[in-house]
Every structure is written in C-alpha cells, then in structure tokens.
Amino acid sequence: MGMLSLGALHYWLVACLLLIGLHSMLAQRNLLKKLMAMNIMQVAVIVFFIALAAKTGGTVPIDTPSIKQVDAYINPLPHALMLTAIVVGVSTTGVALALLIRLYRRYGTLEEPEVLAQLMESA
C-alpha cells in the first residue's frame, strides 16, 4: 500500500499544508492571516511539484562533465515551473498587500467582521 510508505511522506506533507492553508483562508477572521494562509496553500503546491521531480540516487541538475548519463540528474522541469509559480505567488501577495493597505487606511482595522460592519453602516 503506497499511501503509508516512507516515500509517500512528502505527499502527506502536501495534503496537510494544502488543507491548513485552505481551512485558514476560510476560517480566519483577520484578512492578513487569510493572505498568509493563501501563501501556505501555494507553498503546498510548490512542494508537490518538487516532490515529483526527485529521483532515488539522482543528483542536482547542474551540468557536471564527470556524469555522463542524463538519467543521473533529477528532473529539472518542475523546478523551473515552480520558479514561475513562486513569482506568481509573490505578485499576488504584492497586489493583495496593496489592497489591504488601502482597506486599513480607510477602516483602521483588518478584521473582516469589523470591516463588513463598517461597510454596512456606510451603505
């Protein structure tokens, strides 16, 4: 049963991080904590891809003249893909922080219930 073997440990880690991130995004009341939970969720996907790239006995994908076979290197493609995903995550966090700063300047709080209450009042 592959699910309980040691090799599947990283997939359990991915599942835990994904669920922590998802749950916190929905359950936390502070908007900044929701944002941080979003980052945790993105990290989960990044770890998933990196885990796909690993090979038993493989070495880092840097071109070394002494290693002749291509199979001896781990798969570099998911690493390259995840660089892009990290940049996307950073950009999203940047946009979200800009939005949060505007919210904070206007309402003085980042707790979602208070922001919504103030919105309702001003409607």
């Binding site: 880092v60 840097i62 071109d63 660089l83 940049v87 940047g94 922080l97 800009a98 700063i101 505007r102």
Partner: protein
C-alpha cells in the same frame, strides 16, 4: 521608508554586506544558464540590496531609483525581453529563437547568449518592480 533605522551598528553592517550581496546577485544572474540562478533570483537579490539601503538609510540613499526611474527600469526590462524575441523574428527565426541571431559563435552558444540577454531583461524588470512595490507599500503619507 520615511524614518530610517540609522544606528551605527546597522550602518556598518550595511556597508560591509551590500557590495557582496550585489556581487552575488550578478553571479547568480550570469550563472543562470549552467546552475541554479537566472533572472528572477538575481533580480530579487538585487532588489534586496536596494531595499536594505532604503531601510537603513532612508530617503537619501535611493540609488537614483525613485518611482519614475524604477518604473522605467521595469518597463525597459520587459521591453528588452520582448525585443530580443522580436530580433529573432527579424532574422527569420521563430519568436524567441536565439539560434538565428547573427552572432559569431556556434548555435548552442548563441542560445546561451540569447538567454543571458533575456535574463538581464528579467533582472531589470524584477528589481524595478520590487523597488516600486516596496516604495508603494511603505509610503504612508502619499496617495496611490
């Protein structure tokens, strides 16, 4: 930042570290083709030095990268990236096909140089954007 940290200890540490971080950033960019590195990573490290200078010294040490210049840098970086691709089109290759660029080196080397050019564009864009983001997020008194 409007109020820099500015203590003697931070100032000394900053002066020691910044040249090495800068050098490391350039190293990471230049070695992006053969080892971990490249545009995003190098640009981030470069931006880290600029943010460090801003945090420790404040407004007098912007390194000339006030908002407009950072915007120009970022736009120039993206334009460089797209421009190298268009150069390949001018020389009858596919978009971003560096092998057809008329450089006096082998095709594989031309690919490597083309990617280096692209990565420099990415460094400019990333550094410009990070500096813009930092300035925008920490400018308390200014409007958007």
């Amino acid at each position: 930042m409007k109020t820099p940290f500015g203590s003697l200890l931070l100032d000394a540490a900053c002066r020691l570290m910044v040249p090495f971080i800068l050098l490391f950033a350039l190293y990471v960019v230049a070695h992006g083709h053969d080892s971990p590195g490249g545009g995003f990573q190098g640009g981030t490290i470069l931006a880290a030095t600029m943010i460090l200078m801003r945090m420790v010294h404040g407004q007098e040490h912007l390194w000339g990268l006030h908002r407009l210049s950072a915007l120009r840098l970022a736009c120039a970086g993206i334009a460089l990236y797209a421009g190298i691709g268009l150069l390949s089109v001018l020389w009858q290759g596919q978009y971003l096909d560096y092998g057809v660029l008329p450089l006096p080196v082998s095709t594989a080397r031309a690919h490597a140089l083309g990617i280096l050019g692209i990565e420099i564009g990415v460094v400019m864009a990333v550094a410009g954007v990070f500096v813009l983001m930092f300035d925008a997020l920490t400018a308390w008194g200014e409007d958007d």
